[in-house]
């Protein structure tokens, strides 16, 4: 009986360690990446701007990872038949331009040895051609979901002129192959601030329309 009880306590300890361990590990990894990582901007492109909100997150499609990786892949991967390429782990070496925007310089089959190099662990998608990267979901509250989706979709459809910064973009912290999304920017403002600003503009527009409508009615009634 005593042995059975001891076993139960062992199970309890294991459960607590597993549960706390897993959650704390997730938090620690993310916090380390946010605090010690290098912040890089990534421009988004429209994949499906009319249906970007999937459940509770915006589906981000980062331009540099969405482009065909052919020409950037390591020779040992290129030589493989498509079936064997599927799901292969790759290491995207990131170069940052003067505006802070990151782009994939090339994909490596091993993590770079240079400690200062910026890189992200990705994999070849199941079609063997595209890249599966871990920075696609931007979780948002359902209360602002509709407005966020509309704003994000509209921003995606605005084509940036040559030399202009891509819009929208996300800031991502990169640290030892891990990436954590920081903020989504639209028109240079964090999403939440952009929505507030837009809300303010809308309210102002409504007030102006109301004032204009009232003055017209007044004029008509006087004449």
């Amino acid at each position: 009986m005593k042995i059975e009880r001891k076993i139960l306590w062992v199970f309890f300890t294991v459960a607590v360690i597993l549960q706390l361990g897993l959650v704390v590990r997730m938090i620690a990894h993310s916090e380390t990446t946010l605090n010690h990582g290098t912040t890089v901007k990534f421009g988004c492109i429209p994949v499906d701007p009319y249906d970007a909100f999937r459940g509770r997150y915006l589906d981000l499609a980062l331009r540099t990872f969405e482009m065909s990786p052919e020409g950037l892949l390591p020779a040992e991967i290129v030589s493989l038949p498509v079936d064997e390429r599927k799901g292969k782990t790759l290491y995207a070496l990131i170069a940052v331009d003067d505006d802070g925007f990151g782009r994939v310089q090339r994909y490596l089959s091993r993590p770079p040895e240079d400690r200062d190099a910026l890189w992200l662990k990705v994999r070849l998608a199941d079609d063997g051609y595209m890249i599966d990267y871990p920075l696609r979901k931007y979780f948002i509250n359902e209360k602002i979901a509709d407005r966020a989706e509309k704003a994000f979709g509209e921003a995606l459809l605005r084509d940036p002129a040559d030399g202009e910064m891509p819009d929208p973009w996300v800031t991502v912290s990169l640290f030892r192959g891990r990436g954590v999304i920081r903020t989504l920017f639209i028109d240079g403002l964090p999403l939440e601030e952009y929505l507030k600003a837009e809300e303010g503009k809308d309210r102002q527009r409504q007030q102006e329309t109301g004032r204009l409508g009232r003055s017209r009615t007044y004029r008509r009634s006087n004449s």
């Binding site: 009880r5 076993i7 139960l8 306590w9 199970f11 309890f12 294991v14 459960a15 607590v16 597993l18 549960q19 706390l20 897993l22 959650v23 997730m26 938090i27 993310s30 946010l34 509770r56 997150y57 199941d126 990267y133 871990p134 920075l135 696609r136 979901k137 931007y138 979780f139 948002i140 509250n141 359902e142 209360k143 602002i144 954590v180 999304i181 939440e192």
Partner: protein
């Protein structure tokens, strides 16, 4: 109180009056059935408490999540993380209290299990959401399964067993649907199996054991297919045959014959599976293009090792169960158990000889279903069990309907079919005449006794 017991109590005064019972005997009968009735109502009350406790825990957890979701965007990362972990810590404290207490009620156990598992799921989901962590549903479920793995052993209740089984079942389906390998399901199933055996040992006819058996049988039937790599076409035939035989034979080992069929899920599910597959195997489509000549990938690549391992383990378990049944003098059940060697033989024949073996395979499975139906009727006749006789008749009816309506190949020839039906009909008449004569002989002997 039960209507039958009420009836018995109403009858007692009359029985005393007729001199069949004296007052003391009547009192003893009354007290015996009263205590039984009380026990049952207590058990029903316990179940009700457990159900309401579990639903209460689920609703409270969901309510808290909704309240938090309302203000979620106003909270900073640190606050969100604390809120995500707090319910899990509270659940762990409840688990601690559960272990410290000597004998917690089923309601307490079930409610704690539900809250604990939900709080783990909530913590993982909220932390992932807070840090915008990429992840698939199956990845989330895998993490959850690791978290809740020890909980069925700590809380020892139906809710934790069921939620764990549900999690591994859905995980396996999702992994397979996304093109992954789901063989790990069997490793994750092992802890559940231990809990399941302990539940059966505690009370094999109790509500928990019965419902858990139904869910386990369904989960196994679904996940056997999902966990197969299908490198060798048609290997599913012996694998599923082994699974249903194992369910049937373990049911025959675990349950008593005087228990209603609904309380013997393994036995019932196994027999349904064997009959359904047996009926399917009388057609040609399962046997077409199977075997090593059609392998999708070289067998030497090792991808299908898991499939063969599964077949080996299931077959060994069937063999073990068959040996125990023979020792227990319950060899009558082996008619159903013969489904595995027959399926294995037919798989080998179809794989090695292709379409040439189809006639033999069809013939064997038609004869097998016929033998199965007749043996059921004979067993039912022997034990005067009308349900068994009816099940045998149903198997025969199914076989006849299949050969008369949905026909193919050899059976599509009307002349042959006509002769076979006349011959079968005549033999049934003959058996009927024999049975009537035999029953007439038995009745006078019984009435004389």
């Amino acid at each position: 109180m039960n209507a039958h017991i009420n009836w018995l109590f109403r009858e007692l005064p009359e029985l005393i009056q007729d001199g069949l019972l004296d007052v003391q005997q009547a009192e003893r009968i009354k007290s015996r059935y009263l205590s039984r009735s009380d026990g049952r109502s207590q058990e029903a009350g316990g179940v009700l408490l457990a159900v309401f406790g579990t639903i209460g825990a689920l609703l409270c957890s969901l309510g808290v999540i909704l309240l938090l979701a309302f203000n979620w965007d106003r909270l900073g990362i640190a606050a969100r993380v604390v809120i995500a972990i707090l319910p899990m810590l509270a659940a762990q404290y409840l688990g601690f209290l559960l272990l410290r207490g000597k004998d917690r009620s089923p309601a307490w156990r079930n409610a704690t299990a539900a809250f604990w598992m939900l709080s783990c799921a909530g913590a993982l989901a909220l932390v992932s959401q807070t840090y915008h962590l990429e992840g698939s549903m199956e990845g989330f479920l895998a993490a959850l399964i690791v978290c809740i793995l020890p909980l069925p052993f700590i809380t020892r209740c139906f809710t934790s067993d069921l939620l764990y089984l549900g999690s591994i079942t859905v995980w396996s389906i999702l992994v397979r649907a996304n093109g992954g390998q789901a063989f790990l399901f069997w490793l994750l199933f092992a802890p559940f199996l231990v809990r399941f055996i302990l539940t059966l040992k505690a009370d094999r006819f109790g509500g928990s054991a019965v419902y858990l058996s139904w869910f386990a049988a369904v989960s196994l039937a679904v996940n056997t297919g999902f966990s197969l790599e299908r490198v060798l076409p048609g290997l599913w035939i012996p694998v599923y045959a082994a699974l249903f035989c194992l369910l049937y034979l373990s049911g025959a080992l675990v349950y008593r014959e005087d228990i209603p069929a609904g309380r013997q899920p393994l036995y019932l599910f196994g027999s349904w599976g064997i009959i359904a597959l047996g009926a399917l195997f009388t057609y040609s489509w399962p046997w077409k293009e199977i075997g090593w000549q059609y392998e999708r990938e070289s067998l030497a690549s090792g991808t299908s090792v898991g499939d063969f391992l599964l077949l080996g383990i299931l077959s060994a378990a069937v063999l073990g169960a068959a040996i125990i049944l023979i020792r227990q003098k319950k060899a009558g059940h082996l008619v159903f158990g013969a489904f595995l060697p027959l399926s294995g033989l037919c798989f080998y024949l179809s794989a090695s000889r292709g379409a040439g073996a189809m006639f033999v395979v069809h013939g064997l499975f038609n004869l097998y279903l016929l033998a199965m139906g007749l043996s059921r009727i004979a067993m039912g006749f022997g034990s005067r069990d009308l349900i068994q006789i009816n099940s045998g008749t149903s198997i025969l009816s199914l076989l006849i309907a299949m050969r008369f309506i949905f026909v193919e190949d050899f059976f599509s020839n009307l002349i042959w079919r006509g002769f076979i039906f006349i011959a079968l009909g005549a033999s049934f008449f003959a058996v009927n005449v024999w049975l009537v004569r035999r029953l007439k002989k038995v009745e006078p002997r019984e009435s004389g006794a």
